[in-house]
Symmetry: C2
């Protein structure tokens, strides 16, 4: 098995209302990259949010007492803290200046996905796309590729550094369930479910420098098993979550 | 940027005492794959443990009362539970049949890395290599590649499915620290440290089916910045760990 992973390097700065599929198709054409049904396209959340207008003007935010007090204690922008609260349905951890929240769509991540990197101006921040699976489906339909992954960079408990994960998918099952299959010695694989969408996102992340510029990556050679797919399958159910 | 990721498919079953570098060099030669200083080699922990003899005969284990009671409550092999305890320096979570432990080298993972998949016979289990960075350095010296990553499949809080991570590295810094660099809009990237070794491990994991057979993967095209490197950099320090 052999994978080829290529970053598109000629995407323009994405603005509200842009047709992202069109921009990606043009960049791919300019770079001589064919997009067909064998391709997995990984796209950074940031440009999806920008195209969808999921950019918030912080000057319009009414700051609550809790946001003000936390921001003051940890020298943060109180408007950003309020925006994080507004995009959280549950605070998982709020400690030592770190805010880990569960978003409306069930993602658990730092700052509920609110972010200012690669956004123009100190008064603006992006929030996550409201339905990342739908964003992925739209891109897939517009490009005719095999699968689409919307990626974001998440921290992890116990481990340093961010890794990219899949927050939206279309065209395949983000989990590869090996249960019932046997290993080389005939032993049943008891509990082996692989988060292939997260592994694909991490692979694509290697080609998306955080300083920006290559937010769309093509992955070729991955044996896709077509399915509708939803990144919600990657979210652990509350009753099985030991770290709520 | 463009990455090529290739799995070696002709590695033989690895046994205690095998020279893993030699086996990998032979498989690469047979498959026409050049290994040079531009290559990152990812190797599954399982074959490193086998080569190093980190395989335990469960029949020799003295089972404690705690291991017996937990195994009985959750229908597990009490010898395996005892082996997990023996390879733990701290139990992080012990709930609903799940055992998450911190190993002697500071990794936090399910079952302290003790595993029976792809091991011959119900009476045997592998444990993690005693010094995975040293294992990686040895392979790197033996193969002359740019970097080596020893990978293992870990679960994650909040998310379903396993992803491969780096438990040992040689030849590069597993963290890529963007702090102080600026984004496209001139904004300083405040807290962006990327766990590149884990992203490389996840990418390689896409080519390592859990049923076994392709435990060595070559990654070409990754812009390595040479350094000694240690996977311990990926372990969050206790004082910064919100999930101890």
């Amino acid at each position: 098995m052999r994978l080829e992973i290529v970053a598109l390097s000629t995407l323009p700065e994405v603005r509200r209302g842009d047709d992202l599929a069109l921009l990606i198709r043009q960049a791919a054409a300019d770079e001589g990259q064919l997009i067909d049904s064998s391709v997995v396209l990984a796209v950074a959340q940031k440009i999806v949010s920008k195209a969808e207008g999921a950019v918030v003007d912080l000057r319009e935010i009414q700051v609550s007492a809790l946001a003000r007090s936390w921001a003051s204690e940890w020298t943060k922008d109180e408007r950003l803290i309020e925006l994080i609260f507004a995009h959280s349905r549950r605070i998982v951890k709020m400690d030592r200046g770190v805010l880990i929240a569960e978003t409306a769509t069930g993602l658990v991540c730092a700052n509920a996905g609110v972010d200012q990197s690669n956004v123009q101006g100190v008064d603006f921040a992006t929030v996550l796309p409201s339905d990342p699976d739908a964003s992925a489906r739209l891109l897939r339909a517009g490009l005719g590729c095999g699968a689409v992954i919307i990626t974001d960079s998440f921290g992890r408990p116990w481990r340093e550094g961010l890794v990219d994960v899949a927050i939206g998918v279309a065209g395949f099952d983000p989990l590869d369930d090996h249960r019932g299959r046997t290993d080389r010695h005939g032993r049943q694989l008891a509990s082996t479910i692989i988060a292939v969408a997260d592994q694909l996102a991490a692979a694509a992340g290697l080609l998306m420098p955080k300083a920006g510029g290559c937010p769309a990556v093509l992955i070729r050679g991955f044996p896709l098993r077509p399915a509708e797919g939803s990144a919600r399958s990657l979210q652990r159910k509350p009753e099985q979550d030991l770290f709520r």
